[in-house]
């Protein structure tokens, strides 16, 4: 409430000027007295017969003491007081708006510099608290993945990644979701809230009852307060001490799109003010604990990411209705402005997280396939498919002769060290020749040429790789490897099934077919330093390399004898 005192009014230079003029113009003397009886202008004379009030909105600011002609002065001052007050109110309003603009400028600068989801949410909530009163609040995000919290996602490794299953998670709210970093699952939160404030399990039932789950499958998922204050009934904030938001773990929120006040804000994308929450028939679990709330959606052009809510629980603290927080349209407007900034920043943070994830996938993938191939897979060229299908490829098997006997002579740690050194050199060679490392089995390497991306001269590439591998070992920088790792290599080519083979939980990108077995058998009979190839490899590359026919051999597990050639290098 803007106040105006007589003293302040009379301090105005233009008003002082007018009064001085009037004092000279009218016939009788006058003086101006405030409500405490202090003279603010003129000299109080006992002879002044009348007292005319200076009024502002029915309130008396003081008096003009004088004769009949002083009445006009009192009227004039009343009018000037009214004008001054209006101007002050306007100025106060301008100042408030200006503070808000400053805040929005400030926050947009701060949050656009933030790429971490958690930090963005905390920052937004902290800023919101500065301008909107309340003892509780949260930034709630809609998660399509169960338990995919800001923190747990970043901590995950590639093998744990599950695809985002839109709508396939109906009913997940009733089951405790595994959350990382010691976060608490849904059921525990539900219990702790129930202990503190005995409630009917309305919201819980609504969430688990399939009848009540909206048909719109894209709207399923979980809600999580990634930043919040005053909600954690188990750890109430210390009075007068602002809790560090960053120390508060994310917390699941029991809410359903379209149901409850928060759920409706989420579904409709329109913010709301509810100043008597417990009297609102939509009130559900998520709104328990609030007496009044103001809630704005975190909305981007495409979708509603979640919401930001601020509220108070005054009555729980024994406050009477006159001191309870009551939100205004101005609060909502401000929160909406804040929320739209926040939504943009949150979306940025989510995109950044996605990019990080892709980068991690990429770096993991690059351990198996050459970098350029990873890029090709990521860019999803049409001719690269990871689904099993028939492909013409050349398969390379390489194995260290008498590896087990070497192992017996050395400490296991030492052997692993040598093996890693050896593998990294071999994988480099395979990648340089655009081969794909299919797997390591003990000391054995299996590589594919022509999968997942087609390779016109896969036989040639494979032989060049094999020769480079043998030469590398013969001139290996570590003497022990040079002296002890003698490898036999077997190559075969033909049409096999290649692709991701396995179960949805675990699959290997691998090749299956007769030629795979042939390559494996050839490797098994190759002596150290030897490269043995099947007839089809020989046929494709006879003009490029020199070969020595090894005649026809019957390989283990094979009914028919096959022709074997040794590459002369």
């Amino acid at each position: 409430m803007t106040q105006l005192s007589l003293k302040r009014l009379l301090r105005k230079k233009d008003i002082q000027f007018v009064l001085d003029q009037l004092a000279g113009a009218i016939a009788h003397p006058f003086c101006i007295q405030d409500t405490s009886g202090q003279v603010q202008m003129g000299t109080e004379l006992a002879s002044l017969p009348n007292r005319y009030p200076i009024e502002l909105d029915g309130q008396c600011l003081g008096w003009v003491l004088g004769y009949d002609d002083s009445a006009a002065i009192a009227h004039l001052l009343s009018m000037l007081a009214h004008r001054e007050l209006s101007q002050k109110q306007l100025a106060r309003e301008t100042l408030d708006r200006y503070k808000e603009i400053t805040l929005l400028y400030d926050i947009s600068e701060k949050i656009t510099a933030q790429l971490d989801l958690q930090s963005v949410a905390e920052l937004v909530l902290e800023e919101a608290r500065k301008i909107i009163p309340g003892d509780r609040g949260a930034v709630i995000l809609h998660q399509l993945e169960p338990g995919a919290t800001a923190r747990s996602v970043t901590d995950r490794v590639i093998s744990d990644d599950t695809p985002e299953l839109d709508g396939a998670l109906v009913g997940v709210m009733s089951t405790p979701t595994p959350l990382g970093n010691g976060q608490i699952g849904n059921s525990q939160i539900g219990n702790s809230q129930k202990n503190a404030e005995p409630q009917e399990g309305v919201a819980l039932a609504a969430a688990t009852d399939p009848e009540l789950v909206p048909n719109d499958r894209t709207e399923a998922g979980t809600f999580e307060a990634i930043a919040h204050f005053g909600l954690d009934v188990a750890n109430p904030p210390i009075e007068g001490v602002a809790p560090l938001l960053s120390t508060i773990p994310a917390m699941p929120v029991e809410m359903t799109p379209g149901a409850g006040i928060l759920g409706q804000v989420f579904s409709s994308g329109n913010g709301e003010i509810v100043n008597h929450v417990q009297g609102d028939r939509r009130c559900q679990q998520a709104e328990q604990g609030y007496d009044a709330l103001v809630c704005a959606p975190l909305k981007t052009q495409e979708r509603v990411l979640g919401l930001i809510v601020l509220g108070s629980s005054g009555s729980r603290k024994g406050l009477d209705s006159s001191t309870l927080t009551s939100y205004s349209a101005g609060d909502l407007k401000l929160l909406n402005a804040l929320a739209s900034q926040a939504a943009a920043a949150i979306e940025n943070a989510l995109l950044h997280k996605k990019e990080l994830r892709e980068a991690r996938i990429k770096s993991n993938l690059e351990r198996y396939v050459p970098a350029q191939l990873v890029q090709a897979i990521l860019e999803a060229k049409d001719d690269i498919s990871l689904a099993p299908n028939r492909k013409n490829i050349t398969i390379l098997f390489s194995d260290i002769r008498n590896f087990t006997s070497h192992c017996e002579r050395l400490e296991p740690e030492l052997i692993v060290g040598y093996l890693n050194e050896y593998f990294s050199h071999m994988v480099d060679i395979i990648f340089t020749h655009e081969g794909t490392v299919n797997k390591f089995v003990g000391d054995m390497i299996v590589a594919l040429f022509g999968a997942p991306s087609p390779m016109p001269a896969s036989e040639q590439q494979a032989i060049e790789t094999a020769i480079a591998m043998q030469r590398c070992i013969q001139s290996f920088p570590l003497a022990w490897i040079r002296d002890n790792f003698h490898t036999g290599i077997g190559l075969s080519a033909g049409r096999v099934i290649v692709g991701n083979i396995g179960s949805p939980q675990h699959s290997d990108y691998t090749a299956i077919g007769d030629e795979v077995n042939t390559a494996s058998r050839l490797q098994a009979i190759a002596k150290g330093g030897q490269i043995l190839v099947s007839r089809n490899v020989y046929e494709a590359t006879r003009h490029l390399f020199s070969f020595k026919s090894m005649g026809t051999l019957t390989l283990k597990g094979k009914r028919r004898a096959i022709e074997v050639f040794e590459v002369q290098y």
């Binding site: 100025a91 200006y98 400028y105």
Partner: protein
């Protein structure tokens, strides 16, 4: 002796809101004055000798830098504390500010509370 603060800005709403922000200082016998352009400001500075001036940089006729330079150098009034106000997006020319002898600069939209703090600190007043 009353302490004086001069607010110089060609935009009425900025003058109004600085006045409003500083209004409570009037209870500590601080007089607030306003000027709408550089020339008027210079006149008031010479006549009233305010202790503190909030001076907008971008003004018609005579800009803030010119006013500041005249006050600090030509009129030889280095003790008048001058806070330059610069609009967001217009990079404040710090070198020029230093040359003309400005004591501080604030970017609009400034935080009104910060403005009051600065005034209190400069004039050695009690916190509100």
């Amino acid at each position: 002796m009353a302490k004086k603060i001069l607010i110089v800005d060609d935009e009425p709403h900025i003058r109004l809101l600085i006045e409003q922000a500083l209004e409570d200082l009037e209870d500590q016998d601080v007089e607030l004055m306003t000027a709408t352009n550089g020339r008027e400001a210079l006149q008031l500075i010479q006549d009233e000798l305010p202790q503190l001036v909030f001076l907008d940089v971008m003004m018609p006729h005579m800009n803030g830098f010119e006013v500041c330079s005249v006050v600090k150098h030509d009129l030889n009034l280095p003790d008048i504390y001058i806070i330059m106000l610069t609009a967001k997006g217009q990079e404040f020319d710090k070198k020029k500010g230093q040359e003309v002898g400005a004591d501080l600069y604030m970017t609009k939209p400034f935080d009104p509370d910060e403005l009051v703090e600065k005034a209190i600190a400069t004039l050695g007043l009690d916190a509100i």
